[in-house]
Symmetry: C2
Subunit: 112 residues, 2 copies
């Protein structure tokens, strides 16, 4: 089974490459074939396929082949996991800053 950490590892890794992010952005406008995704990228088709595989392993992209055309589309869950992870920790961090004065007061009061 893929743990939550594995999903975050693979999703953050998948999104760490500008070519892969541009594939994701393209897919936000709707499903697309492998060659349609490859068209704007300045690299070989096999290179694009490898990028799509990285996106698929993260779960961000799902694809199905019909005839000779493979159609790719986005899956929301992994991106939501990433967004949730960031939001969660940003909240703690921001909350901590908001209460910095209180924390200092508490700390000073604690010293006997």
């Amino acid at each position: 089974m893929a743990t939550e950490a594995d999903v975050l590892d693979r999703t953050f890794h998948a999104l760490a490459d500008p070519s892969r992010r541009s594939i994701v952005v393209q897919l936000t406008t709707g499903p697309a074939s492998v060659s349609a995704l490859a068209a704007p990228l300045k690299m070989s088709l096999p290179a694009v396929i490898q990028h799509i595989e990285v996106l698929q392993k993260s779960g961000i992209v799902y694809s199905e082949k019909v005839g000779r055309v493979r159609t790719c589309r986005l899956e929301p869950a992994p991106m939501q996991a990433v967004e949730h992870w960031i939001a969660q920790h940003r909240q703690v961090w921001e909350g901590r800053l908001d209460r910095l004065g209180d924390v200092l007061n508490t700390t000073y009061r604690r010293i006997p």
Copy 2:
């Protein structure tokens, strides 16, 4: 100058490693020294320093040395950039799904 794409590249890459994410989580509870960050991790101190360097290059972490102690703390901007990037494209994607019926109608009407 670091472009927006560079910031996203480096921030997504920095967060793609579980040890680095655990350093970030530790830092959400407040600034910490290098050895304090290293303590819960099962690896050598130089390895931890290398992880901190990756976090610093992304801008997620900032550090200052006073005496022989280096204190690390979080910087919010890069994580906000990532959160913004995801939210922005998720919005497009979700909007597209919401209007799927309309789009299909429009497409059919366009055929002469």
